[in-house]
């Protein structure tokens, strides 16, 4: 049984009770929520995840809860709570799913130091993983989403999770947060893509989440060999180009863009070395998603 198969009432009861267990592959989370509309959104974007018992060890235990008291009187709000603490200011109640997703990202980035966490999208095809490290605004999420709608397996939209023992990429598939124009771009690119509700008033504008496909969820326990590192940059109107980046410069960019490189120090250095040594490194500039995908396909030998 999958999350999508749960009756609405059953899912709400789970979210207000023992919690919903979500196995992301590299990380397991148990989440709770006390709003029916959030339960409905979770059902959409986590639809392919297996329904699992909410017992055992979870790296992340978090909830999104209604704010009570004077703040709620002024405006309906929700807060993200992890291990009994609320690390952020409350959000408007009508942005509950973005708050949950950002909160989960925050928990993973701050607590999961058993892995090297690169700030990168990551996809896999034909056994070859492609890392897409990039700064916000570079089109990373849009490209990652388009690749997963084109037959690539989603490893993660946000975290390049590197096993410190062998440099393999560990899957952490979660809904891909699409922002503003990207939502319509992906709707047009892949009309069958399952995109959850839009949240128009978040701090980053309108946000909607692309649900991970079934194959990516079902293969969340299967690591992948990193074989290409691609620094993407969307430039409107620009023809696609792939320019080689020296491995040493790619190394420094990866390290500088990681969430916990400086926490892990030498172990992170060793892991990045393995990733870079096994990969070709490129800068990808593109103005058309189809061209960009063709370029990435060539990198995985298609």
């Amino acid at each position: 049984m999958r999350v999508a198969d749960l009756e609405a009432r059953e899912l709400e009861a789970r979210l207000t009770g023992t919690g919903l267990a979500l196995d992301f592959g590299a990380v397991r989370a148990r989440i709770r929520a006390d709003q029916a509309s959030l339960a409905a959104a979770i059902r959409e974007v986590y639809r392919e995840y297996p329904d699992q018992p909410s017992r055992g060890f979870f790296e992340v235990n978090a909830s999104v809860e209604r704010v009570t008291g004077i703040r709620r009187v002024l405006r309906s709000q929700v807060k993200f709570v992890v291990d009994g603490e609320a690390p952020f200011a409350p959000f408007p109640a009508d942005t509950h799913l973005p708050l949950l997703e950002w909160g989960l990202n925050w928990c993973i980035a701050n607590n999961c130091n058993q892995f090297l966490l690169l700030h990168a999208g990551a996809v896999e095809r034909s056994g070859r993983a492609v890392l897409l490290p990039a700064q916000p605004g570079s089109g990373k999420s849009t490209l990652t989403a388009a690749l997963t709608c084109s037959g690539f397996r989603l490893l993660s939209d946000e975290f390049g999770v590197v096993d410190l023992n062998d440099g393999m990429l560990l899957p952490l598939p979660r809904p891909i947060a699409l922002k503003n124009e990207s939502i319509e771009v992906i709707r047009e690119f892949a009309p069958d893509a399952l995109i959850g509700p839009s949240f128009p008033k978040t701090r980053k504008g309108t946000v909607a989440h692309l649900a991970p496909d079934r194959l990516s969820v079902d293969r969340r326990g299967v690591p992948a060999h990193p074989r290409a590192i691609v620094f993407p940059k969307y430039v409107p109107g620009e023809p696609v180009s792939l320019e080689a980046v020296s491995p040493a410069r790619a190394f420094v960019k990866l390290a500088g863009n990681a969430f916990n490189y400086e926490v892990l120090g030498p172990a992170a250095f060793d892991a990045v070395r393995v990733v870079v040594q096994g990969s070709e490194c490129f800068r990808l500039r593109y103005g058309d998603l189809h061209d960009a995908i063709s370029a990435v396909r060539r990198l995985v030998g298609e």
């Binding site: 410069r249 420094v252 400086e262 870079v276």
Partner: protein
């Protein structure tokens, strides 16, 4: 040279992990050869010059450049030199 220093060589460049600052630095060929020479143990300045000029082609690196390079590596805490005294 601090214990725990790590160096990864990639073609004509290298990356080094500084165990003092936990920072990672990008090195050019010259710096990489100098550092690699020192990783086997303390070296005289002449040994380092030989190691660099024997590997970098074309050998357009002057002794002054290598002196300056070692000063930069020392400022980063990657090497320890007694260069000033030996040059007196």
């Amino acid at each position: 040279m601090p214990e725990g220093l790590r160096l990864a060589r990639f073609d004509s460049e290298a990356v080094v992990f500084n165990p003092v600052s936990w920072q990672t630095h990008l090195l050019n060929d010259t710096a990489a050869y100098a550092l690699e020479a020192l990783m086997s143990g303390p070296q005289t300045f002449d040994d380092i010059v030989t190691a660099v000029l024997g590997n970098v082609t074309p050998p357009d690196h002057t002794v002054e450049m290598i002196q300056s390079l070692l000063a930069e590596l020392e400022a980063l805490g990657l090497v320890e030199t007694t260069l000033a005294k030996s040059c007196e």
